[in-house]
């Protein structure tokens, strides 16, 4: 099913006889496999409003991300939260949509500075599981009128409603960027450097460490962006603060961050991939504990060490029990982003929640999707 309008979409959801598998471009195959009739939002396209001087864009949820980025680039603007492109990592094909970006709350390395996808989503229109059209938020940057269902929709993977339109905040492309790179640091020293950089006043917009074996030798990267003189100044100050880092500029710098954003070092390599979010200072403790317990892994550390991408052997529970037991002590959560469907069918892909929180989530699902037909079980 591929509706061409919001009314048609609402009618299809209202009249659905059974479970629906909601897709945008179908490039983010994450979660428990969903059995259901495919409902694509790819027909809901088009820029409804773009005001560069107000930093706002309103667009149909099925609009291809590439189209959105092209429209913004013409005005020297961009999606500042740097959405991850899952295609290489997950081995999927197709054109990612802007709705999919928000349904997955797909943020990238710049999250550490400017915020996540959800922080840039100003308003939504969606169809709930009963087929009702609901709007929330709007197109202005400050809005506390009623509850913030915009945040609730972001990262709900189509399980609470089908996005039909999104309005978002965009930002200007900076004139210059620079990445300071050091090679051969152990994870602990690499993360310490990232922490120092993020604790400095130099407005760091990317802070990643690739452990040895992720993409050759270990590599630590710190990014700054802005007006040219400002970037030069901060590059020099950070260089003095961090010792042993060398600058990479322009397109070469941008390429380093596409690699981190899309986790390309794990693309095409066998194994399951976990995405772990935890306190930056505890990332190294987690990977050391996993190593001691015998779980072989490679780690790419983004967000100053607070976001771990772990490559482990697929099969069995892909290390789920061990990983989540350690996280129970350290705090944070783990999502099994890539694994064989058989693994994902038995391992909870999303972190199981404590009973009272799980009850709230279940209650919200029951209200927004009373028949349980929107991507049922995907986030289970």
């Amino acid at each position: 099913m591929r509706p061409e309008s919001e009314e048609e979409l609402a009618a299809l959801v209202a009249g659905a006889a059974g479970p629906l598998k909601i897709v945008g471009g179908g490039t983010r195959d994450v979660g428990r496999p969903v059995a259901g009739e495919v409902l694509s939002t790819a027909g809901l396209t088009g820029v409804r409003l773009y005001e560069p001087g107000a930093l706002t864009l309103v667009v149909g949820a099925g609009t291809p991300l590439a189209e959105v980025e092209a429209v913004l680039a013409e005005q020297g603007q961009r999606l500042a939260f740097e959405p991850i492109d899952h295609r290489a990592l997950l081995g999927t094909a197709g054109a990612p949509t802007i709705g999919g970006v928000f349904a997955a709350n797909a943020s990238g390395p710049r999250r550490v500075n400017v915020g996540a996808a959800r922080d840039f989503l100003l308003g939504v229109r969606f169809i709930d599981g009963a087929g009702r059209v609901v709007k929330n938020g709007g197109r202005v940057m400050k809005n506390v009128t009623g509850y913030d269902l915009v945040k609730l929709m972001a990262g709900s993977w189509g399980t609470l409603g089908v996005l039909s339109e999104v309005s978002l905040k965009v930002l200007a492309e900076p004139a210059a960027e620079m990445t300071l790179v050091a090679r051969g640091l152990a994870a602990e020293a690499g993360v310490a450097a990232l922490t120092a950089a993020l604790g400095s006043p130099y407005d760091v917009t990317g802070a990643a460490h690739l452990d040895e074996g992720v993409a050759g030798a270990a590599e630590t990267r710190v990014r700054i962006e802005g007006l040219p003189e400002s970037v030069a100044y901060r590059g020099e100050r950070l260089g003095a603060l961090l010792e042993g880092f060398a600058p990479v500029e322009g397109a070469a710098s941008a390429a380093l961050w596409r690699e981190v954003r899309d986790v390309t070092p794990f693309a095409g390599r066998a194994g399951a991939v976990w995405r772990v979010s935890l306190r930056p200072s505890r990332g190294v403790r987690l990977t050391e504990a996993l190593g001691e317990a015998g779980l072989a892994h490679r780690a790419l550390r983004d967000w100053g060490g607070g976001l771990l991408w772990l490559l482990v052997e697929d099969g069995g529970d892909a290390g789920a029990a061990l990983l989540r037991a350690r996280l129970a002590e350290l705090g944070g959560h783990a999502t099994l982003v890539r694994a064989a469907p058989e693994t994902r069918a038995v391992v909870p892909v999303f972190q199981p929640e404590p009973a009272p929180v799980a009850a709230l989530s279940a209650g919200l699902r029951a209200r927004f999707d009373p028949r349980g037909i929107l991507n049922p079980g995907l986030m289970a």
């Binding site: 913030d148 945040k151 200007a172 003189e229 400002s230 976001l307 709230l360 209200r367």
Partner: protein, 477 residues
């Protein structure tokens, strides 16, 4: 302002409720003498007052849970209260409600510079959060103008903003985790020291829920390294249109100032008379502030001034030193005090798309003429967050009602041009009955469904946010 009729059954069992609350709190934590409960009869929206049944001041998450369990069992409504600085009546009691004040929850629980967060109890004031980390070079970004007094609990309930959110975002963008007590006494943890909470974004929906979903007792807040410096520049223009176009061009140019403040002529004149900051007598005035090291500031200001000059400013004033910078801010910072000197005023905070600024200012001027009430405008222009101040005389019969009617018309205008009713103050009781202007029945139903899940009996702050007729069935159940 219509409020629900207090429950006779609850009023009748005051003694028993007080006794049960006294059993779970220290003696000083339960306030029930009518002479003392009067202190809680209103917040900063002082036009509406009602003493509560009683007030409680728990000092720990456990005490909050114990209080809520009692109230839940007794079916007694609860109104959470931070510091009582709400301009929207968010903490206005009903006669049958228990005010739950978080003033005694004021400790810093953990400061983690390596993880760039601070964990505090939510009765702590906004400014004292920054106070706890600034010696080490960090700050907490959201800065509502009441930051000296307002509590983090209220900031979370209202998703408070401030002058610097163009760059740093509002509360929800800086909140990493909470400990929250549900109406039945259940304690839950959401998020924590990591950057994204897992599962559904419950944290996102709690922030800005106006104390209707639970009582947040502890919060993990993102802290940021302090920039090396900041410097404002002042620009005067002879029309609102030109000033609005200048704001838009600055934003489009790719420099992101930390603040862009706008004042119109009535506001400029009042501030000048009050504070003598040396502002030019012109139609519209902008204060634009940028951050960084001195060289970085020069680079940004050069760009901004070049743009400003293209708009034929009647005045462009740079700050050569800290004194001059302070003078540029002086008038703006005393705006509300200046207004208070000459009149009673009502402050709205509708937000509009920046591109519609001249049109909305024109519309407000027309309304001002029609109602015969002066309006001064001072606001955060970068993000379209208006602050029209309607001046009236509270002692003149009918003036308050007239100001309220005019305020409602201004907010309708904000929604009409694509904006919203409230950008940072919240709905409370003040804008409750206007919700239908912005949202249709299904939109409100979806929001109320969230409350059904968190607070099925609708005991928490239930007379706020949603029009009373829309929530009637749920509140009665």
């Amino acid at each position: 302002m219509e409020m629900p009729t207090p429950s006779a059954a609850v009023l009748a069992k005051k003694a028993r409720v007080v006794e049960r609350l006294q059993a779970v709190l220290p003696a000083s934590g339960v306030i029930h003498d009518p002479a003392e409960t009067r202190a809680y009869e209103c917040d900063a929206l002082t036009a509406y007052r009602c003493p509560p049944l009683c007030a409680v001041l728990p000092a720990s998450t456990e005490e909050v849970a114990a209080v809520l369990r009692v109230c839940h069992e007794e079916g007694v409504p609860v109104v959470p209260r931070g510091s009582g600085t709400s301009l929207a009546g968010g903490a206005l009691p009903t006669a049958d409600s228990v005010i739950l004040g978080v003033a005694r929850l004021n400790r810093v629980l953990e400061t983690a510079y390596g993880d760039r967060f601070i964990r505090v109890q939510t009765g702590r004031t906004n400014l004292s959060v920054t106070g706890a980390v600034e010696e080490d070079g960090f700050f907490y970004a959201p800065d509502p103008s009441s930051q000296l007094a307002c509590a983090i609990a209220g900031n979370i309930a209202m998703n408070s903003g401030g002058a610097h959110c163009l760059k740093y975002g509002v509360t929800t963008n800086n909140l990493l985790g909470v400990t929250m007590v549900l109406m039945d006494g259940t304690v839950i943890e959401l998020g924590g020291g990591h950057l994204d909470a897992g599962g559904l974004d419950l944290l996102g929906v709690i922030c800005g829920s106006e104390g209707q979903l639970g009582v947040v007792t502890e919060a993990t807040l993102r802290i940021l390294p302090k920039p090396e410096g900041a410097r404002p520049v002042l620009m005067g223009f002879d029309s609102n249109e030109v000033a609005g176009a200048c704001v838009s061009d600055i934003i489009k140019a790719g420099v992101l100032p930390v603040a862009i403040e706008f004042m119109d002529r009535p506001c400029i004149r009042a501030c000048e008379a009050f504070a003598g900051a040396g502002y030019p007598d012109c139609e519209a005035l902008l204060i634009v502030e940028v951050e960084g090291a001195p060289g970085e500031i020069d680079e940004q200001l050069a760009l901004i001034l070049e743009i400003a000059r293209r708009h034929d400013p009647v005045e462009l004033r740079e700050a050569a030193d800290a004194d001059e910078a302070a003078r540029i801010w002086l008038g703006r910072k005393s705006a509300f005090g200046a207004m208070g000197q000459i009149n009673d005023y009502m402050c709205l905070d509708g937000t509009i798309p920046v591109s519609r600024l001249p049109e909305v200012l024109g519309g407000i001027r027309a309304l001002s003429g029609r109602y015969g009430l002066e309006v001064a405008n001072v606001f955060h222009a970068g993000d379209g967050n208006m602050h029209p101040l309607i001046l009236f005389d509270a002692n003149r019969p009918g003036d308050l009602e007239k100001a309220e009617e005019m305020g409602a018309d201004i907010l309708r205008l904000c929604v009409e041009v694509g904006g919203c009713l409230t950008g940072e103050h919240g709905v409370g009781v003040e804008k409750r009955d206007l919700m239908a202007v912005q949202y249709g029945p299904d939109d409100l139903e979806a929001q109320m469904a969230v409350k059904d899940v968190f607070d099925p009996a609708w005991l928490l702050n239930a007379a706020k946010v949603f029009p009373l007729d829309a929530s009637a069935r749920r509140r009665a159940a």
